[in-house]
C-alpha cells in the first residue's frame, strides 16, 4: 500500500535504544523509587513493558506498568466521521505522587501526548510526568518535547514512520515510507 520502505532501525538497534532509555530513566530519577511507566495504546504498551523489563534487570526492582487509551481525549472527535474504537485504560496503581513516564512509539504533532497528559491528570495528581518515545520525527504543533528519545528522524510531512513490534506486527523494526496517496 505505501511506497518503498527504508529501514531506520533494526531489531537490534531498537533493543539498544530501549536499554539506553531504561538507563536514562534510572539516571534522571536517581533510581526508580516512585516511578511508574504508562504505555499509550497501541504500540506504547509493549514498549513500556520492554522498558520495565530492562529497568528491572538493571535495578533489580520492578516498576509498575499501566495502559492508557487516549481516544476519549482526542481533539478531533467532532471533526472526523470515523471515530476510532475506544479501548480500556488499565492503570492498576494510584498515580498520585508518582513520577509517570509516558511511553509512545512516535512523537509527531504532539496531539497524542496532549491527550495523554489530560487523561493522566483525570486519574489523579502525578508528582511529575516524563515522556519517552522510540522515534521523534519532528513537526510539532504543540509546545511538547520528549525527555527520552530512541532516535531523532528528520521527516517530511508526506512521509510516514511505521514502528513494527514483535507483539503487534510479528517483527521489530522502524521504517519510513511515502504516505499513500489519499
Amino acid at each position: 500500500m505505501e511506497g518503498p520502505e527504508k529501514q531506520l532501525m533494526s531489531a537490534e538497534e531498537m533493543r539498544r535504544a530501549l536499554v539506553r532509555i531504561a538507563h536514562e530513566v534510572i539516571e534522571r530519577n536517581a533510581g526508580v523509587q516512585g516511578v511508574a511507566l504508562v504505555g499509550v495504546r497501541a504500540r506504547g504498551v509493549p514498549l513500556a513493558e520492554r522498558l520495565a523489563q530492562a529497568i528491572a534487570e538493571t535495578e533489580g526492582q520492578p516498576v509498575p506498568v499501566g495502559i492508557l487509551d487516549i481516544t476519549l481525549y482526542r481533539d478531533d472527535v467532532g471533526l472526523r466521521a470515523d471515530l476510532p474504537i475506544v479501548r480500556s485504560t488499565a492503570i492498576p496503581f494510584a498515580v498520585d505522587g508518582l513520577t509517570i513516564v509516558l511511553v509512545d512509539d512516535v512523537l509527531y504533532t504532539g496531539r497524542t501526548v496532549r491527550a495523554a497528559l489530560d487523561a493522566l491528570m483525570d486519574l489523579g495528581r502525578p508528582r511529575r510526568i516524563q515522556l519517552a518515545v522510540l522515534v521523534d520525527r519532528g513537526h510539532r504543533e504543540l509546545p511538547i518535547r520528549a525527555d527520552f528519545v530512541g532516535k531523532n528522524v528528520p521527516t517530511a510531512r508526506d512521509e510516514e514512520i511505521l514502528v513494527r513490534l514483535l507483539e503487534t506486527d510479528g517483527k521489530d523494526e522502524v521504517v519510513i515510507a511515502k504516505r499513500r496517496e489519499g
Partner: protein
C-alpha cells in the same frame, strides 16, 4: 487486530446489528465502564455536543441512564418531556424534530409509545437517532445492556440457554433481546401464558433458535439465564389474564423454581419490578440476581453508543 469502526447512523433496533458490531459496542462499553469506575467519572469527549432526551412516555431509569451517559461524556443534555411541551398543543412529531434541529440539537434519544416513531424521526432529523423504546416494537439499548451483562458473567453468548418469562407479546425488551441473542447464537425459550405469547409458530418461524413453552418448570431446566419481564397490570383488565395471583402461581419466579435452572444461572429483570407478581422479593436480591448490575451496565452501553454515533452527526 485493527477493527474498522462501524459507520452506523442510528440505533433503532438490534435486527440490523452484525456479530462484529455487537463486539465493537461491548469492547467500548468496557472502556466506558472503566471511566465510570474512576473517582471523577467524566471525560471531555463530547464537549459541545447537545443530546436531547425526547421522552413521549414516562420513564425513570432509561432517561436518567441516558442523561448520566451523556454527561459522563461531557455532552450538553436537554430533557424534553412530551407532557410539558408544545406536543400538548398539537405540535406534530415531525415539527418537533425540526424545531429541535433548528435549536442546535445534535443527537436525539427518543422514547415513544407508538411503535416505529423513532424511525419516522430518523427520516426527518439530520443527525443520529437512538431509540430508547418505541411502543411494543424495540428497546435496543436494553437488549444490548442485557447481553453485555450476560457476557460479563458467562462469557460468549453462543450456546447459552436463555429463558424469557412473561408478557412476550407486548414486550419491546423481549423483541430486541431476541434479535441480539439469536444473532449471537443463544438458544432462547419464550415462556408465559398463551394469551401473552401468541401463536408459537410465528416466533419459531421468525427466529430459528427460539422455542415457545407454556410450562415454566420445563422451560427452566438447565437454563443459563432467566430473564423476567414486567407484568403490566392492565393486561388483566384487558382480559388476557384471569388474575394476577394466578399468573404469580404459574409463572412467578421463586427461589424454589430457580433451582431448576443451572446452578450458575443469572436472574435478570429490565425493571421496574412488580415484586410479588413476576418475581419473588427474595429472588430479586439473591446471589444470582444481576438486576442492579443491569442498571449500572446500561450507562456504559449508552456511553458507547453515544460515542459511536457522535461521529455520524451532520454526516448527511
Amino acid at each position: 487486530m485493527s477493527v474498522e469502526p462501524t459507520r452506523r447512523r442510528h440505533v433503532l433496533d438490534l435486527d440490523d446489528f452484525t456479530v462484529e458490531e455487537f463486539e465493537e459496542v461491548f469492547t467500548q462499553a468496557d472502556a466506558m465502564a472503566e471511566v465510570l469506575s474512576r473517582p471523577i467519572k467524566q471525560v471531555p469527549t463530547l464537549r459541545g455536543v447537545t443530546v436531547v432526551n425526547a421522552f413521549y412516555e414516562s420513564s425513570t431509569r432509561t432517561r436518567i441512564s441516558f442523561e448520566q451517559a451523556a454527561k459522563a461524556l461531557s455532552a450538553n443534555v436537554v430533557n424534553f418531556a412530551a407532557a410539558t411541551s408544545s406536543v400538548v398543543k398539537g405540535e406534530s412529531l415531525i415539527d418537533t424534530v425540526r424545531t429541535l434541529e433548528a435549536l442546535g440539537c445534535d443527537i436525539v434519544v427518543m422514547r415513544h409509545g407508538m411503535s416505529g416513531a423513532p424511525y419516522l424521526v430518523a427520516r426527518h432529523f439530520a443527525g443520529p437517532v437512538l431509540n430508547a423504546g418505541d411502543g411494543q416494537h424495540a428497546h435496543p439499548t436494553q437488549g444490548l445492556l442485557d447481553i453485555y451483562t450476560i457476557r460479563k458473567h458467562l462469557g460468549p453468548i453462543a450456546g447459552l440457554k436463555v429463558v424469557i418469562v412473561g408478557d412476550i407479546l407486548h414486550s419491546r425488551v423481549a423483541r430486541s433481546n431476541l434479535w441480539g441473542l439469536t444473532k449471537l447464537g443463544a438458544q432462547v425459550v419464550l415462556c408465559g401464558p398463551p394469551t401473552l405469547i401468541g401463536p408459537a409458530g410465528r416466533w419459531e418461524e421468525l427466529f430459528p433458535k427460539v422455542r415457545v413453552s407454556y410450562a415454566l418448570d420445563e422451560a427452566l431446566s438447565g437454563a443459563d439465564v432467566v430473564m423476567l419481564l414486567r407484568l403490566q397490570k392492565e393486561r388483566q383488565e384487558g382480559g388476557l389474564l384471569p388474575t394476577l395471583r394466578e399468573y404469580t402461581r404459574i409463572f412467578g419466579m421463586t427461589m424454589e423454581r430457580l433451582q431448576r435452572a443451572a446452578p450458575h444461572a443469572l436472574v435478570m429483570h429490565p425493571g421496574p419490578m412488580n415484586e410479588g407478581v413476576e418475581i419473588d422479593p427474595q429472588v430479586a436480591i439473591c446471589a444470582q440476581s444481576v438486576i442492579e448490575e443491569q442498571v449500572a451496565n446500561g450507562v456504559a452501553i449508552r456511553m458507547a453508543l453515544l460515542y459511536m454515533l457522535a461521529g455520524q452527526r451532520g454526516a448527511a
